[in-house]
């Protein structure tokens, strides 16, 4: 078992770090304040090859793995979580398409993403269906050669920006198994009956777009079904095994960024005639934070590298995601504490990181859901 990154992985990590440091920092504060991510960044990220890292080359991707994608996400979030999420989520939903889509669908939908011509999304959550995805009520009914879709979706990343969205719909309400009632359908957002409303006032990752979707007699060809009808639940469970890797990388990135800031601050800030870093209480804090980050990182890299070998370890991935989320929240909290009163001011980036970190414990499965997944693998369905 090798724990060393390859030289190519190191180069990718550095490329992402340089791009993020060079460009995100120009926009980060404004992007947070005004709740948007500048178009120029989407364009640059695509030109530099950061979109579609884990897509095979035949779909315009880099043909690399989840580990490489995680390295990029980590570096992006380390510099600015809001912009990191905006650029990292351009491919959101593609994992499902790659795993279950037809050859035709992959050829149609994936290359424009890598070229910076399209943004994707995946929509599951509804006002009354969050962690319980089997409660999703958005209805898709087959009418001749078309699906007719009606319903609403909540908290949809890229809802206003996406060119196409994978929609999790109720297609077979009468199926005796509640895990076989839903299907995934690709919806182009320029079709009549689609509307999106931006959700304002998020606590963190404010640069990233979030929307409420409304679908009214929206019609798509029946070929837009992804994979088999009634397999939506199983598909999304497989999907989460992939996207939780991305999210874990976010938690580690935001934590590392906060640790970087705290380290700089305690070395420079002089109190009682000495830098804060000379105080043992401060040293212990830094040591604890750094250890948490490294431990979370080890778990994620192991899970991601297994995924790249085709082994999606449900339990390990859930552990990596939960731990990374907690590390993000705890380390940003400690980093802010070390900044004292300054950390409470918007002109210090740690204030933003503190707000940004929380989402990692909420989306793509709350930390409680992750723990449930872990326990179920260990204990079975008790």
């Amino acid at each position: 078992m090798s724990f060393n990154l390859t030289s190519e992985q190191i180069d990718i990590q550095k490329a992402a770090r340089e791009f993020a440091r060079g460009e995100f920092t120009k926009w980060a504060r404004e992007a947070d304040e005004k709740e948007y991510c500048p178009e120029v960044l989407y364009k640059q990220a695509a030109e530099l090859g950061f979109q579609g890292i884990f897509f095979p080359e035949e779909y315009g991707g880099a043909g690399l793995g989840y580990l490489e994608f995680c390295l990029v996400i980590e570096e992006f979030w380390r510099v600015d979580p809001g912009i990191g999420q905006s650029l990292g989520s351009v491919v959101f939903g593609s994992d499902l398409l790659l795993t279950f889509g037809s050859e035709e669908q992959k050829k149609k939908y994936l290359p424009p993403i890598t070229e910076g011509e399209a943004i994707m999304a995946a929509a599951i959550t509804e006002a009354d269906a969050g962690s319980d995805v089997t409660a999703v009520a958005t209805r898709a009914v087959l009418d001749g050669d078309e699906w007719v879709i009606n319903g609403t979706k909540m908290f949809i990343t890229n809802g206003n920006l996406a060119d196409y969205i994978i929609l999790y719909c109720l297609t077979d309400p009468d199926n005796p198994s509640r895990h076989q009632r839903h299907s995934c359908i690709m919806v182009e957002t320029d079709r009549p009956g689609f509307s999106a409303n931006k959700i304002h006032g998020k606590m963190g990752i404010r640069a990233s777009d979030t929307a409420e979707l409304s679908l009214t007699d929206l019609r798509v060809p029946k070929e837009n079904l992804i994979g088999e009808r009634g397999e939506g639940f199983a598909q999304f469970m497989a999907f989460f095994n992939r996207t939780r890797l991305h999210i874990a990388a976010q938690g580690i990135g935001v934590a590392q960024g906060a640790l970087d800031m705290a380290t700089r601050h305690v070395k420079n800030r002089v109190q009682f005639g000495r830098p804060l870093a000379a105080l043992q209480a401060v040293q212990f804090k830094i040591a604890e934070m750094a250890t948490k980050v490294e431990a979370s990182r080890s778990l994620l890299y192991r899970a991601a590298s297994l995924a790249d070998q085709g082994i999606f370890d449900h339990k390990l991935i859930a552990m990596a995601k939960w731990t990374a989320g907690e590390t993000g929240v705890r380390v940003t909290d400690e980093a802010l504490q070390l900044h004292g009163g300054y950390g409470y001011l918007a002109e210090y980036d740690i204030e933003r990181f503190y707000r940004d970190a929380k989402i990692v414990e909420l989306y793509e499965g709350t930390k409680e859901v992750e723990k449930q997944v872990i326990a179920r693998v260990i204990l079975g369905k008790a």
Binding site: S7, E8, D11, I12, A15, G49, F50, A62, G63, V270
Partner: protein, 258 residues
């Protein structure tokens, strides 16, 4: 056109504090993050721009150990066609004359029309590599160049002088040009570039063959010290606006600047 660029792998001073090693004469390298020397990034970008404009091939050179190869991979990722690394343990802590001899050795019998390098390095900052290499090769040299254009067998350059002045110089090729920062905007490394770099060759030359015997004594570092802390240093605290205001007041008070 045959173009070469020399790059150096140096400690990333933005990330880590430099410390003097136990010998008292060199910098401690262990455990520090390293990256390509800032000046060399501009030299590399200029070399790639020239190659794109006039055609030809670009070879990247580096004097350094295997870990330093990262900077050569960067060269390959942004457009160099091949890379050459020369190293020998004897070059560890070498003076600029010895490094220039190694650079000369790495170039060998290949006749390059244009050789670019950074005006100086961010670690020791001698700024001698380019001119000494030109001397060793017996070709023209211009240092501190902040603008350049290749025209046929000549290159038109602007050299940076004190006080914002520039000097325009026309040089016949072959020549070594030392590049100042700000001459261009170095590009970011792309994922595709990194993948392409993997397929390009990095030749490794044994530096043991380079004769350093006449160079060693030309410059001997006796000791290296961090600058002493100045007397009466004052840390300005407060919001950026308050700090700026106080700064302005202090400069006015001191006179001569504002």
């Amino acid at each position: 056109m045959k173009i070469a660029v020399f790059v150096k792998h140096v400690p990333d001073v933005a990330e880590a504090d430099l410390e003097v090693a136990a010998d008292g004469r060199t910098l401690k390298g262990a455990g520090l993050p390293f990256e390509m020397n800032e000046w060399d990034r501009f030299a590399l970008e200029e070399a790639v721009l020239i190659k794109d404009e006039v055609g030809g091939d670009l070879t990247a050179f580096l004097i350094g150990d295997e870990a330093a190869e990262e900077s050569l991979r960067r060269c390959l990722a942004v457009g160099a066609d091949r890379a050459v690394r020369l190293w020998d343990e004897a070059l560890s802590g070498a003076n600029p004359f010895e490094i220039a001899a190694a650079m000369r050795g790495a170039v060998g019998d290949d006749n390059y029309d244009l050789i670019l390098c950074g005006a100086q390095s961010s670690d020791y900052g001698y700024g001698m590599g380019g001119p000494l290499l030109a001397e060793a090769l017996g070709i023209n040299s211009v240092a501190l160049v902040n603008k350049m254009k290749v025209e046929g067998s000549k290159v038109l350059v602007t050299r940076e002088l004190e006080g914002g002045w520039g000097e325009e110089v026309e040089v016949n090729l072959p020549a070594v040009i030392s590049i100042q920062t700000g001459i261009n905007e170095p590009r970011y490394v792309s994922i595709l570039g990194i993948k392409k770099a993997r397929k390009k060759p990095i030749d490794v030359l044994d530096g043991a063959g380079v004769d350093l015997s006449s160079e060693g004594g030309k410059l001997v570092v006796e000791s290296l010290q961090a600058p002493p802390l100045g007397e009466g240093a004052e840390f300005l605290e407060g919001s950026p606006e308050e700090v700026a205001e106080r700064c302005l007041a202090l400069l006015k008070e001191a006179g001569g600047v504002l």
